[in-house]
């Protein structure tokens, strides 16, 4: 086993982590601001992949699908928040969100089956990202490097957005004390709608990026939403940095587990979550509540 081989495996794990991060960061943002556990996040991710494929088929431009699919899906997310979730904010217990978004997950998956058909849809990697790069004597797909770069870019962009902009300031303020922000004259409902849309747009972006690797298939959403929940639980619900750390941990566990312990690959991720929760019930960076 050479150093180059280990490096290639680490890069592979990081590219997996990048895709997971796109889903997990939206999930954790939505939870942090709204205390909503969005079970439909996997279906949103899947919707992003399918919409991206359609944009690609119509326009022939991968970059355009990276732009349009998140905008469209983010809009759908905002509409869902506006039509449904908004009316549940008065309920005392949070279980209703979990159940409602679970219903949305079923409805979205079925709508996708009706619109795009039950067969998996393959999408090619665009020509300029198709090559193989040789790193320390090991061949490595360029597209996976592109994924890592996108993941890093997204993490930095969201971090800067939350820390440096006025909208980011409002989002952090709402997460801490929504009533006070409301009393100071900010439309908190609008912030919530915006964050839900942003979270959905991130998941859709992840879906578009993941589609060339895995092909778009029904059920890609359910697989991924459980992974994303595991990540968010490991990192700590509502913690942005936690979702980044969780994505990387789970990405490594999935890729290395699949390579070295094929039979137990599925179980490893859950073991990781169990261990974290038994030691720190609130997650690595979460507050215990």
């Amino acid at each position: 086993m050479t150093f180059g081989f280990i490096l290639a495996q680490c890069l592979s794990a990081l590219s997996q982590a990048a895709i997971l991060f796109f889903i997990a960061c939206g999930l954790t943002l939505i939870f942090g601001i709204m205390r909503i556990v969005n079970f439909a996040h996997g279906a949103i991710f899947m919707l992003g992949a399918y919409v991206g494929l359609t944009v690609l088929a119509v326009t022939g431009s991968f970059l355009l699908s990276l732009l349009l699919a998140p905008v469209a899906v983010g809009g759908i997310g905002m509409a869902f928040e506006w039509i449904f979730l908004r009316h549940l904010y008065g309920r005392r217990e949070g279980g209703a969100y979990l159940l409602l978004t679970f219903g949305l997950a079923i409805v979205l998956s079925e709508l996708i089956r009706v619109i795009w058909g039950p067969q998996p849809l393959a999408s090619g990697i665009p020509d300029y990202l198709r090559g193989i790069v040789v790193i320390l004597g090991q061949p490595f797909p360029l597209y996976r490097l592109f994924l890592i770069a996108s993941g890093i870019a997204a993490a930095v962009a969201i971090w800067q957005f939350l820390e440096r902009t006025r909208a980011g300031l409002l989002i952090r303020a709402v997460a801490q004390n929504a009533e006070m922000v409301h009393a100071l004259g900010t439309d908190v409902a609008l912030v919530r709608t915006g964050v839900f849309g942003l979270g959905c747009a991130m998941a859709a972006l992840g879906g578009v990026l993941a589609a060339p690797l895995v092909t778009a298939f029904l059920g890609m959403g359910t697989n991924v939403v459980i992974d994303a929940f595991v990540i968010v639980i490991i990192g700590g619900m509502g913690s942005f940095a936690g979702s980044l750390i969780g994505s990387i941990l789970v990405g490594f566990v999935q890729v290395l587990g699949a390579y070295y312990f094929q039979d137990l690959a599925l179980a490893f991720m859950y073991f990781l979550m169990l261990i974290v929760l038994v030691i720190r019930p609130g997650g690595l960076l979460g507050k215990e509540d």
Partner: protein
């Protein structure tokens, strides 16, 4: 009150006569519906009485089914004894699971239960030579006995076995939630810090309830395995957990009878709609969302509020009782 008792008696008699009034095919659907009703009721102990949303109740169902499958196939024990042993085995496995899961509440609890169910799902493929991997276990017999009893081997007889298990389980669960133990559960649901302050070890109560819930869920799984004649990994899959949760909510959480109705309603709707259209999950998901939005008290809540002004969910009463008991 006597009207209510008469209504219950009438419902039981109607269920007992039903096999002779409907075709053989519908009887299979009915048996499946009753089994799912039992599963939903077992989940209601957690959702309705402790407000612990388990997303992994498939673990109870799958463990019960696989335990029954292994016991019946390899040991050839009489069917009722095999099912009882399967329930016992699942109950023992549930104790450590309950201990870990009750460390957290809310979303973390939901995800921990989900993790255990998925872990079980993964283990089926790891220990292929015992569980049969993706093929599952097929050809599960229904061995006769004890004392040469064979009436449950036929379809109508099996229906009565399932109906009997459901009624007895319902009566036991009802007795539990109406006992002092159940009153403490309601107190935990309404205000856990207060229950702790009153001196109750709430964690112990929650662990006990999770284990009980697993036991009844395992009974449903064991009955299903012996009915269908096979146990497959799908029984452990999270969709089963999701379906059970939907049944509880649509039927009416915290009522026990509601989730049974929800389960029966769900299975029949599934069979009817899947014959008419392949869009039934879409219809079903929409119905579910409508219930969450507009009728969070579920079918039973709608029905019972039509007849009497007081909602069926005991909320204020039991928590008052506990404070009286402590004072």
């Amino acid at each position: 009150m006597s009207g209510k008792a008469a209504g219950c008696a009438l419902a039981v008699v109607a269920c007992a006569l039903l096999p002779f009034a409907i075709p053989q095919y519908s009887l299979s659907v009915l048996i499946e519906a009753l089994i799912f009703g039992l599963l939903a009721m077992s989940l209601d102990l957690l959702v309705g009485y402790c407000r612990l949303y388990s997303f992994g109740h498939a673990a109870a169902y799958g463990l019960g089914a696989y335990a029954a499958a292994l016991i019946l196939t390899h040991l050839q024990l009489p069917l009722p004894i095999g099912i009882a042993l399967a329930v016992l085995a699942t109950t023992l496995v549930a104790i450590p699971i309950a201990w870990i899961c009750t460390r957290s509440t809310g979303v973390s609890f939901a995800m921990l239960t989900l993790a255990f169910a998925q872990l079980g799902y993964a283990m089926l493929f790891r220990f292929r030579d015992i569980t049969g991997g993706s093929d599952g276990i097929t050809g599960i017999p229904r061995p006769p006995g004890p004392w040469g009893i064979t009436w449950f081997q036929g379809k109508i007889g099996y229906y009565y076995l399932v109906l009997g298990c459901l009624i007895v389980s319902y009566l036991v669960c009802r007795a539990i939630v109406r006992s002092a133990f159940g009153a403490v559960l309601s107190a935990i649901r309404e205000n856990e810090p207060k229950a702790v302050a009153l001196g109750y070890d709430t964690r112990l109560y929650k662990i006990t309830t999770v284990v009980l819930s697993y036991a009844f869920g395992a009974l449903a799984g064991a009955l299903y395995a012996a009915f269908a004649g096979f146990a497959s990994p799908e029984l452990f899959f999270w969709l089963v957990s999701g379906r059970a949760l939907i049944m509880v909510v649509v039927g009416g959480a915290g009522t026990l009878i509601g989730p049974i109705l929800g389960g029966v309603f769900f299975i029949f709707l599934e069979h009817e709609l899947s014959q008419v259209t392949d869009l039934w999950p879409l219809v079903f998901g929409s119905i579910f969302m409508a219930f969450v939005m507009f009728a969070p008290e579920g079918i039973w809540g709608l029905l019972s509020s039509r007849f009497k002004p007081v909602p069926g969910i005991p909320s204020a009463g039991p928590s008052d009782e506990t404070s009286d008991a402590a004072a």
